[in-house]
Symmetry: C2
């Protein structure tokens, strides 16, 4: 029964009985965590052969260049090819870096501020206010990069098809200080939504006031399907090329959630002109990436088919966890009209919208009984959820048993928060 | 016989016979390289066990933190301890990063420009001209970082005891826009000189006009002795502490020339306050370094004794090459009074001063017959050697036979250049 359709007296009784249940949960000494988008230990075990994979002379000398020594600024050819196959772009448009796509994003923004982007007339920092569009809820670390670098963040709503493109088009056309937009186009963090073909095409047709505007396309979950059939994402690089606008795109990905977070390899895909400028400035910052770790990954997977087969194994661990979240919310929140969410086909998160004004209270109730959630507001620029309703649920790390225990406790807390709010 | 003591006619005959020898060398189709401070393949082979070293659950879970997953911003404790033992500073003053100390240096300068340093009143970039002192000949990549970031470079001469400290003291006291100095304090690149105790103490007593001045102490060769007894370098961190000035130091090192260039691990050592500010800004740029590669190095060496034993093996390959350079110059250049150099006890380079105005010509003569040298001027800010006399000799990479062939050809070229100059 919808909570809004209950009488006040019914809600009072419901709240009293939930508070009893909550008190019981408090006695259990729970220590459960649904806050971090981390692979579970079982998922990491899938890549353990990588930890003892020997690299032989044939491996490191096979190309004619000794990968054990200095040299090669932008990645070994075989690693470029692997990411080319993952992202669906030519290998010549790939630059393979170190262990972190986040670092590549930070450095890309930092360099654009300092030197400008390819084809730009001046550094971004020469503009009075540099601004980025932030579809939200979104990924807090994207927002942090901008905050750290003094860039103003502008909220754009997420819809079921991706960012609100009417708003995106209107904003970028109106203000030459808007230099970028953060996107996680497939299984968006945290909504799980994949941008529709229409959305991607509208990105490919953007006509920003700033001629040095860039789309930051963080394709972190491009191969991270956990359902048998995953979402399909239109190839933005191809679409932009049709319009002669391929310089507008910086695309990123990594193997952080394929092999080992922090010990994987990351890549950027961009147009020839963009990459040439990257190389120029990278040359002052680095002698090159860890080629042996690139080689290790290439050898381990053998190619794109190996990567995809590996992701199927990851999926087997992730799917039941997402189904558990979906089931709990379906039985505990939906019938009471106090939560809405989208069940994704991949990625690492579920985004739950509670009633307005219920997110912080739910978070606090959970925290008090040992259930850790992602900080409320983290999914919005400046850490402020204007409606205080969004929670990012990260079910990957706990075991299914722990997850179910956490979900039971969570739903009690969410119901209490809703009832308190309705009769406040 | 000194060329200057020859008669003009004697020199003419000498030049004629050298040109014949040069013509013969030209027919050999040489392809020899003394330009790059790269370890040889034989040196790299010493670390090959690292390429098949398995990491077990005991290794990656032993600390209680799963090193295969996200987390740990500033390096695993065991890697901090290893660098602490190498540098002689407390492990709490170590931050272990990725594969490149050069990147850590670049990022350190970049952050200081953008945010200022610990205790600084404003960002370096808020000053009209930011300047760095560059003891030279020095390391071109240090200078490149500054050039890329728009920092003005000021030449300071290298003496037998390190940078000309009278000049350093005078300059830093006179100009608050001088924010840093680049130093390779042991086996300096390229002179091979180790800073004397007196020099280090004078660094520890510096009183710069800028209260946000920093010494960039690139201790790249701290354990890279190739003679039985290496140089000793006074510990600047300790000396600064005695004066309460430890915030003035940023120290860097890496295993690039211990294990594999590009696939090693790098560290920064600095005061508590400096490291706290690093961590704050790093947090926006990275989720953390490659902990598994740190673990791999820690396990491979087992501790500082393992590292030092490994360096002894490297030394056996390096020493004969440096001795070959010293022997060639001693027999071919010194008796003719056309070259001076210092024979180091470690490091990767020998710095040769020819007669003024002879470096470029010698370089060109070498190039024309297939002997590659480090670009003339690379060892000076802006690539300009004011006296056109300095050449950086890098003997590590070629085999001893190739090196000797290169040295034979080189000395012919250097002698031709000197004779041409003397009678120009």
């Amino acid at each position: 029964m919808l909570y809004t359709e209950m009488t006040k007296e019914q809600r009072k009784q419901e709240l009293a009985s939930l508070k009893e249940a909550y008190a019981e949960l408090g006695k259990k000494g729970l220590s459960l965590d649904m806050s971090r988008g981390k692979p579970s230990a079982a998922q990491l075990d899938l890549s353990n052969d990588l930890l003892s994979l020997p690299l032989t002379a044939e491996d490191y000398m096979g190309s004619g260049t000794d990968y054990r020594n200095y040299g090669i600024l932008d990645g070994i050819p075989a690693a470029k090819q692997l990411f080319a196959d993952i992202l669906g772009v030519p290998a010549s448009n790939i630059l393979v870096g170190g262990n972190s796509s986040l670092t590549m994003m930070y450095d890309t923004v930092s360099r654009a501020l300092r030197y400008g982007v390819y084809g730009g007339r001046k550094p971004w920092s020469a503009y009075e206010h540099v601004k980025f569009l932030c579809p939200c809820p979104g990924y807090d670390r994207h927002f942090c990069i901008c905050e750290d670098l003094g860039i103003e963040l502008i909220n754009v709503a997420m819809t079921d098809e991706g960012p609100d493109m009417d708003e995106v088009e209107r904003l970028v056309a109106s203000d030459e200080c808007i230099k970028g937009i953060w996107c996680v186009p497939k299984y968006q963090n945290p909504t799980g939504i994949t941008f529709s073909d229409e959305t991607v095409r509208r990105f490919a047709n953007l006509s920003p006031a700033a001629d040095d505007f860039r789309i930051f396309w963080d394709n972190a979950y491009i191969i991270h399907d956990f359902m048998d059939e995953g979402d399909t994402l239109l190839n933005l690089f191809d679409e932009l090329k049709k319009n002669g606008k391929e310089d507008m795109l910086f695309q990123f990905t990594s193997t952080s959630k394929v092999t080992f977070p922090g010990a994987g390899i990351a890549a950027i895909a961009a147009s020839d002109g963009n990459l040439a400028l990257f190389r120029k400035h990278m040359n002052a910052q680095t002698i090159g990436p860890d080629k042996l770790n690139q080689l290790r990954h290439v050898k381990y997977f053998g190619g794109i088919d190996g990567v995809l087969a590996h992701m199927k194994k990851q999926a087997a661990f992730l799917r039941p966890k997402f189904e558990a979240v979906d089931a709990a919310f379906s039985s505990e929140l939906a019938p009471r009209g106090i939560g809405s969410w989208f069940m994704p086909r991949g990625g690492y998160f579920i985004s739950l919208d509670l009633l307005d004004g219920c997110a912080k209270r739910t978070y606090e109730l959970c925290r008090a009984i040992g259930v850790t959630l992602t900080t409320v507001g983290a999914t919005f620029p400046y850490g402020i959820d204007p409606r205080d309703r969004n929670l990012r649920i990260a079910p990957s790390f706990p075991t299914v048993d722990d997850l179910n225990a956490a979900l039971d406790a969570f739903c009690v807390c969410a119901r209490i928060a809703a009832l308190e709010k309705l009769d406040a």
